[in-house]
Symmetry: C2
């Protein structure tokens, strides 16, 4: 029986090919979908609610009556979930809120003695839309991770959109999570039609300032199309985990963590980089053993085969460099003294240090956000945070004396740029 | 002779129509350009330097030999500008750097007694590309405003791209500003080809993590196309100024400031909102008088006619509300006690307080960035800042005891979401 995951020398021909192939995972935009999305958006812009309802009836629920989720539906959802689930969500909420509170930026001021005052103000956005995918899997944790930073940022109104099921309902776990997270309004609409409604506004759904949350290709392309008219969160691609371990790594833990990432979808990538050939072989065996008891075995096997790998390196320097090159969404460091390397990890969404900080701890409970830059974009994107739900304004107050001190320099620069009305605006103040 | 700018009651039919029309100013994307840009990008991706050089020879400079600007060209540029210009740039640099230093976020840590350590690290991006438009007008101030926040953020390498003139040179003022701002590499390439080179990398130009800077429609669409592969700055539309003034406003200053915005381009919008009909009429007259001496008279007259207006309101509450609704790039508050209203301005790129803080002060000299959210996007975008040139990673270190305390709750949430490999990753740690 063949192995579920390959072991390659990182600097071998095959190792290098693997890395090249990994980059291509995120490529390929569907032109047909783009055109379809453009048509849908323009229809929503023109016709508002009636277009949104028509699309929802066509794609999700033929018998849909109202887009708005009523309080009774949320109350009923609470009856459908158990106490243990609610308690778990509440603990998560408390941890997530505590961590995100520390991200809050303050407004500030600077002053100079000649009467100059400048600074920057920080405010929460007014209205934010959160997209929550429908389909078979419901992810209440994702509702929490998108809504709570907005709450902490002081967003006035948080609006959630999610496609209804065929029977017109929404998963109880999603409704309960939204309610606990403090979502203000919930609408039964998904796909590009939901993005259009949030961006343009309809009779029922007021337009928002920013749209966040993951979705399928229709949702992603619609978000990109409305960028500028509203703000959007980062573009999410297939996700990944990279585990760096030396000979001290526990093969059971590593195998389990690789598979927790691999089960997400067939494009997910799980990578172990290790200095120990012995550990590599042990992990390979553990995966084979553990996968048998997992419900998403088939997805795990496919993703490990296509995008999983164990790369053997000569030393920790090489391991860390490789990690920085891949810039993974999740970077687990399972070595004896993980803090020793923290300062050298340049590119990663979230860093998990030591043997008792597995990715699912971050996905559900620890506090940092689980919405992270994927597919190497940790080179330039950051985890979703309070920063994403605020806006800043700068302010300038100059005294007559303060402006006088720099007036000639401003005029010089304006004249160099050929902008004489700019120069005039300074000169006119000292004419008499 | 007709007036250059209309005076309307803000809540009249015409006042409301004006505001509706203003919104439409930013609309209209060229589909043909989109296709052309996609073709160019794919050619650059495939052929690298040779495609970039071909496009540059075709569009900008037939005789182009090398993409790279040499040190000698920068030295020569210093000889072409005068000392006064260099001094003005250096003062601007000092003020801009001082202001942006205050924006820097710190890495942080939080700890709990049961061995839990979490936090967030902050790092400058590795490589940033700055686009600087060519054409007749050269804007050295724009080079400073884009490069200096990157410098303050700790970006390792700042790369500038700008189209060469027909004779293969670049404006001396641009080269000097780039050098003073600390730009590391300069290339003679503009348009979509420059964006492609920065996003994909070529033999000469190494790929970057983020591209910032304004450009024409080709540049804007190319940036949008590569978003995700690299980060980009906000989408810029036509710009605007909104001045709020009561009867204390100085008509000369107000007229001059309105025109300093109007001279940018024909789509620029200059708006005065005032509680004083008397002031409105005086400003109207002042504009007519002052415009005669301005070199960009024709642009000013067109933009004032099409998108300029003086709106008369009943009181300051109405004025501030209108300002928040328009969410202007530049918000000047020329009233007796401007700080009284600072806390009520929710949507604005930069706020200019009092009679001696005209927009050109902020454009060139004060310190805050002049790259600001335009066309109402101050509802959700912020001024360009150090934030735009850093990335954050979160980190999590849990002890065995710490994880034990939350393990059942994580398993509960993972099971609810049907992710058994996530649950397994926790369980496997406490199996024996």
């Amino acid at each position: 029986m063949s192995e579920l995951i390959n072991i390659l020398k990182a600097n071998s021909k095959e190792g290098i090919e693997y890395l090249e192939n990994l980059k291509k995972r995120a490529e390929g935009i569907e032109n047909d979908v783009n055109i379809k999305v453009a048509e849908m958006l323009s229809e929503i812009r023109e016709k508002g609610d009636s277009a949104v309802i028509n699309f929802t009836r066509k794609f999700d629920c033929e018998s849909l009556e109202s887009l708005t989720v009523k309080r009774e539906e949320i109350d009923k959802a609470y009856e459908e979930v158990d106490e243990e689930f609610i308690e778990a969500l509440k603990t998560a909420k408390s941890n997530i809120t505590e961590f995100h509170e520390k991200q809050k930026d303050k407004s500030w001021i600077m002053t100079k003695e000649n009467g100059i005052v400048m600074g920057q103000t920080v405010r929460g956005l007014s209205r934010v839309g959160i997209y929550v995918p429908g389909g078979t899997a419901a992810y209440p944790s994702s509702v929490m991770m998108n809504a709570l930073p907005a709450k902490v940022a002081g967003v006035e109104k948080i609006v959630m959109v999610t496609p209804p099921k065929k029977d017109g309902t929404i998963s109880a776990s999603i409704l309960v999570a939204a309610d606990i997270a403090g979502v203000d309004e919930i609408y039964k609409v998904g796909g590009a039609q939901a993005i259009g409604a949030l961006a343009y506004g309809t009779e029922t759904i007021e337009k928002v300032d920013k749209i966040v949350g993951p979705g399928n290709i229709f949702v992603a392309l619609a978000k990109r199309s409305v960028f500028g008219l509203v703000d959007i969160d980062m573009i999410a691609g297939p996700s990944e985990i990279l585990i760096v371990s030396d000979e001290n790594g526990n093969e059971k833990f590593i195998a389990a963590d690789l598979m927790s990432q691999a089960e997400h979808d067939k494009l997910a990538s799980a990578i172990l980089v290790t200095t120990s050939q012995e550990l590599a072989v042990k992990v390979q065996k553990e995966i084979k053993r553990q996968v048998e008891s997992l419900s998403r075995k088939e997805i795990i096997e496919t993703s490990l085969k296509d995008f999983g790998v164990i790369l053997v390196v000569d030393n920790m320097d090489e391991a860390i460099d490789l990690g920085n090159k891949i810039a993974p969404e999740h970077f687990e460091l399972m070595v004896k003294d993980p803090f020793l390397y923290l300062g050298r990890i340049k590119n990663a969404g979230s860093i998990f240090l030591g043997s008792y900080s597995p990715e699912p701890l971050g996905d559900y409970m620890a506090g940092p956000n689980h919405v992270l830059p994927t597919s190497g974009s940790a080179r330039f994107f950051s985890p979703l945070s309070v920063d994403d739900f605020i806006k800043k304004s700068s302010y300038i107050y100059y005294s007559e004396e303060g402006l006088y001190g720099v007036k000639d320099k401003i005029v010089k620069l304006a004249d160099t740029e050929g902008l004489t009305a700019h120069a005039n605006s300074i000169k006119v103040r000292y004419e008499d």
